[in-house]
């Protein structure tokens, strides 16, 4: 193969290499721009990823829904319709196997179903919030300390939702972004 041809092929490959992260960015930006923001009550713990760094893993309070007779398989996609409760936090109002048309919804994964309780357990997809490496552990501690206040769970994740796709924008403790809260 001639050098020129190799070079042209390489340019195509290079464009793909740029295109994939660029497309990831494009997707998320559009959700942040035009999606609707919801607050999900959560509890953070801090693990880490060898390539992406430290993050806090978020356990959401919204993780189950009473189920009808439908059979659910582990690992299956589940569409959770959401709306805001009186305090302004997200709450699940329905679960379906196909994307609903009217309400806002998020795509989650089925963990297991508890048959005798007639309940479906699911995982929301936005469980990782990346933080500066020395702050992630502090964030877990800060959350635990904030829990000791008399208030009920006051840690929540701000998530933008658009057509089932979701972007986790920030995590708040007592309405202060977690990164700032840790610095205090």
């Amino acid at each position: 193969m001639k050098t020129k041809h190799i070079f042209i092929l390489f340019v195509i490959v290079a464009l793909v290499q740029i295109g994939i992260p660029a497309q990831m960015i494009w997707n998320r930006e559009s959700i942040l721009d035009t999606g609707k923001a919801f607050k999900f009550k959560t509890q953070p713990v801090d693990p880490s990823d060898p390539f992406k760094g430290k993050y806090i893993y978020l356990n959401y309070e919204m993780n189950s829904f009473p189920s009808s007779q439908e059979t659910w398989k582990r690992g299956e996609d589940i569409y959770v319709s959401i709306s805001e409760d009186s305090l302004g936090f997200a709450k699940a109002i329905a679960i379906t196997k196909k994307a609903p048309k009217q309400q806002a919804y998020v795509k989650a994964t089925v963990d297991w179903s508890v048959n005798n309780k007639k309940e479906i357990r699911f995982s929301l997809p936005f469980t990782e919030f990346y933080m500066e490496e020395n702050k992630a552990y502090d964030a877990e501690i800060a959350h635990r300390n904030a829990q000791r206040d008399s208030l009920p769970n006051n840690t929540y994740a701000l998530v933008y939702v658009k057509e089932g796709e979701a972007v986790l924008a920030n995590v708040f403790i007592n309405d202060i972004p977690i990164a700032e809260f840790v610095e205090q």
Binding site: F7, F10, Q17, D49, K52
Partner: protein, 427 residues
Amino acid sequence: MNSRLIKELPELVANNVISHDVAAKIEDYYSTKQTETPNRLFAIFGVLGSLLVGLGIILILAHNWDHFNRMTKTILAFIPLLIGQVIVGFSILKEKSQAWKEASGTFLFFAVGSSIALVSQIYNIPGNLSTYILTWIAICLPVMYLLKSNMLAILHLVFSTYYAFEVGYGHFSIDETPWLYLLLIALALPHYLELLKHKASHNITSIFNWLYPLSFTIVLGAFVNDLSELGFLMYLLLFSLFYNIGKLPYFDDQKLRRNGYLIFGSLGIIILMLIMSFDDFWFVEQLLFNAQESYVSFVLAIANVMLLIWSYNRQWIKSFNLFQYVFIVFLIMYLFQLNLPTIGTLIVNVLIFVLGLTTVKIGVDKFHFGILNYGLCIVTALVICRFFDTNISFVVRGLLFVGVGVGFFLTNYIMLQKQKRNKEQLK
């Protein structure tokens, strides 16, 4: 090695071993040869440098710098990628040396990884490790062929294995099989075959001769749910396949240290069989039909048989070597449920002993002290394992040890004598 030879030339001339003319010719020959070979050292250090810098960048970016806003972070995600692409593009366009291509390709590989990682980090994209690695190696694969880069092929193999490991053994993976690993390997095979065809005697080819069996050994277990059932048979079949590949004249005629398949296969078979030689083993083993292990084992068994038939037809198999056929015995034992504790243990122990003797014989035939002593080590290992089975009397165990020890002395002594005689005959 060449430089050592050149350094010794004056001494050889001084002692009238060779003439001045011959010395000059030898020197000439090596100096022209050296200019022809690319600077290998430069390539190795270039690759090593890129590897470290690339990994370093990933780690630095993984710190998650809070002070940068989203825009700055996004730009940072693309800078290493663009730099890598420009250097690779430059080395292609200017037709730079292979060293350039290897080093720039390695850097680009890690730059791609870091840019995807950073974007996931900025937008808190959860995706698991395996999908991330899969995307990463998929978009770097073409670069390996465009640059004809060996280092990228190694990275591809290592990360494909990492991917399969994550999918198969990872935390969150239950019932998952890394089928895509097979595709990833298939996509990298043309590069390996090219090396085998045109660069059979190069060191880089023997590196792959070791890496491929290593990768397969790691990954095989990821293809089944539960290793406890047919795992032993499956791995035995894999090692047997390695051994039979290593026995193909193409590999067998090369130096032993280049033949990763043969060494991997032989060691694997022996270690597995030593484990199987314990009494308790055969109580647990049972054949389960309909499990994925059975299918994987079946495929491996067929591959073994096909390879043997092929070798036989080509008349590559000249003498009987038990290592090549030992898998058949195990297939029969599993298939016909012959896994009665006493019979299984007995057969395996006898087999190991015969394999040890076979190896000693190969060592004697080839006049290879390494192989000879490896065979004796097999027998020793067998005796040591039996040492732990308390139901053999101490006297018998003691006699076994003495016997093997004497065997070590005798065989090595006889070989040495033979070698001396051969040398004298040559004189």
